[in-house]
């Protein structure tokens, strides 16, 4: 298969994923918008006004980057895990498996789908946040790069989950028992400096804390952790998950008997 054919296959896969997101937009795009609006109203406005300042910013300003990140993380993961597992469950993944599309093209096709949905939701949530506060992005490069890298990372993580999943229950276990706790404990609503020293150190083991803080640094210019560490952690996890995904595809785990 030549490079031009790879390009056509990749374009087809990404187009198919985006059409899927658009076809079920009520399930993919609307719920995060509603959830985040509630977060802004309840935590940002009602409770936030009584909390006062955090990290030198109003509480509403402080939680906006974290909530955008929360949306990006959960939707990147959800899109890939649902789409790929759905294709497995409905057996139409066989369309791809019998075709001469290389594994890396399949992987990037799904990752791009996850990125498309998560970044679209990131934009929607950002627009909603502007109804509640004024955002002045301090470092555009950091903001955009952290957003993109995080969406890649959680798309890859969703792919691993989808490969191993054998029933629909399996695609909700990781988001419920791993992703959500790590995200909520990842400094979305608070600065880790508020925690006792021991829990500060424990929190440093949470990779999502680094991503949220790096993104917050991009927007507000404040962070609890060094930005270089955050980039290193994100990149290491991306490489790790990418290698795992390719290996799983190559061996046909959960796909070939």
């Amino acid at each position: 298969m030549k490079l031009a054919s790879y390009r056509v296959a990749f374009h087809t896969l990404v187009h198919k994923e985006i059409m899927r997101i658009m076809r079920i937009w009520v399930q993919t795009l609307v719920p995060p918008a509603i959830t985040m609006t509630l977060y802004f109203v309840i935590f940002g406005n009602l409770i936030g006004s009584r909390i006062g300042q955090m990290g030198g910013h109003s509480y509403m300003e402080y939680i906006v980057p974290g909530l955008i990140m929360l949306s990006v993380i959960t939707n990147a993961y959800a899109n890939v895990v649902t789409s790929f597992f759905g294709a497995k469950f409905g057996k139409h993944i066989e369309e791809l498996l019998i075709s001469p599309v290389p594994n890396w093209v399949i992987l990037w096709g799904y990752v791009l789908g996850g990125m498309a949905r998560s970044l679209a939701i990131g934009v929607i949530v950002t627009i909603i946040s502007l109804f509640f506060t004024r955002l002045q992005v301090q470092h555009w490069g950091i903001t955009i790069s952290v957003l993109i890298l995080t969406s890649i990372l959680f798309s890859l993580a969703g792919f691993v989950n989808a490969v191993f999943a054998q029933k629909f229950d399996d695609i909700s276990i990781v988001p419920t028992f791993v992703l959500t706790p790590l995200t909520y404990l990842g400094g979305i609503f608070y600065s880790v400096q508020l925690l006792p020293e021991f829990w500060q150190k424990v929190s440093m083991l949470n990779p999502i804390l680094h991503m949220v803080n790096a993104f917050r640094y991009g927007i507000l210019g404040v962070s609890d952790i060094p930005i270089a560490t955050a980039y290193s952690i994100i990149c290491i996890f991306i490489v790790l998950f990418y290698c795992i995904c390719l290996r799983l595809l190559q061996r046909g785990v959960g796909l070939r008997t």
Binding site: V8, L13, G90, K91, P100
Partner: protein, 318 residues
């Protein structure tokens, strides 16, 4: 050139079941090949390995000279598959299903659209192109999978029971279409439970049973191996004395019907004379079964009614 060359292909599943026991198989380019066997015999496993949906345990597979271990992409590009089970996205419309498949094979969008229209029209699905695929009838779904398998114009088309559950009229139109594309040079491998289908369409046949190829020859040679044929004769008058059948290896199935097992070398005239002499008039004559079916049942060791026996054979194979 050989379209498909299989050597010593073995498959042992994780549960220890040996689905294939070192089979060898060659299908010539341009051929129309039937792969027959009872359920669980190894047909779908063989097809799964060729199309890389199943990992082989040992052996080699070459598609138009491309070894699936060394040149998997090239081998895959040569193959179009119509699987046994429906495997398209039920929530997608007909046209995007075809276009996506073309895209996976690197067919540019413009050409894909032209081909999609051609094959959907050819298979009477063009009017349904914007319909959600789950709303198609069973026959339409089968035809959709054929159109999808052809959109990248494969050199080898593999059909795994393509006409299962399809009514006779549609089945015959599908046969006509398959003959056409075979005449245009596409090699076709067909697995089917309808032995009439294999006999009508295919020039070569392989019979697989318990993971082994027990017959691999051309259809004419295979059919010539059948030396006894069963005839069913309907009589106008009831047969009172069935002793007149004993010289002909015959039996009476009801008062007006008799069955005779006759070697192919023997003429029917003798029995007609005998019946005339007894003032019995023959109203109609037909063969009891498809000759290929008789051979098939003999080869795989089935003696009862085909349906029941096939199920039993499947059970044994599992």
């Amino acid at each position: 050139m050989t379209a498909l060359s299989i050597r010593n292909l073995t498959k042992v599943y994780a549960n220890g079941f040996q689905a294939l026991k070192g089979i060898d198989l060659d299908v010539a380019e341009g051929g129309f090949y039937a792969l027959l066997g009872p359920n669980g015999a190894g047909k779908s496993t063989t097809i799964g390995i060729v199309t890389s949906l199943v990992n082989k345990t040992a052996g080699s597979v070459k598609v138009f000279g491309h070894d699936i271990d060394q040149e998997l992409e090239q081998a895959k590009a040569c193959i179009g598959l119509v699987p046994q089970e429906l495997n398209f996205n039920q929530f997608e419309e007909v046209l995007p299903i075809i276009l996506n498949q073309a895209g996976y094979y690197g067919v540019p969008r413009k050409i894909a659209l032209e081909r999609a229209e051609f094959y959907l029209r050819k298979l009477d699905l063009w009017d349904q192109r914007e319909l959600m695929s789950q709303r198609l009838s069973g026959g339409m779904k089968r035809r959709l999978m054929i159109a999808r398998a052809l959109v990248h114009e494969p050199r080898l088309l593999i059909l795994d029971e393509p006409t299962a559950g399809v009514d006779l009229e549609i089945r015959r139109s599908m046969w006509k279409f398959l003959r056409e594309i075979n005449a245009q040079g596409t090699t076709i491998i067909l697995t089917t439970h309808y032995l009439e289908e294999a006999e009508t369409l295919c020039r070569n046949v392989g019979i697989i049973n318990n993971g082994e190829i027990i017959k691999n020859t051309d259809m004419k040679t295979l059919l010539s191996e059948l030396d006894v044929e069963t005839f069913v004769l309907m009589l106008r008058q009831p047969l009172q004395d069935n002793s007149i059948l004993s010289p002909f290896n015959g039996r009476q199935t009801d008062e007006n019907t008799i069955e005779l097992d006759l070697p192919r070398s023997e003429s029917l005239n003798r029995i007609f004379q005998q019946l005339s002499a007894n003032n019995l008039e023959v109203v109609s004559v037909r063969t009891r079964e498809n000759p290929l079916e008789a051979l098939f049942m003999g080869l795989v060791g089935i003696e009862e009614t085909p349906l029941a026996a096939l199920s039993e054979a499947a059970g044994a194979a599992r």
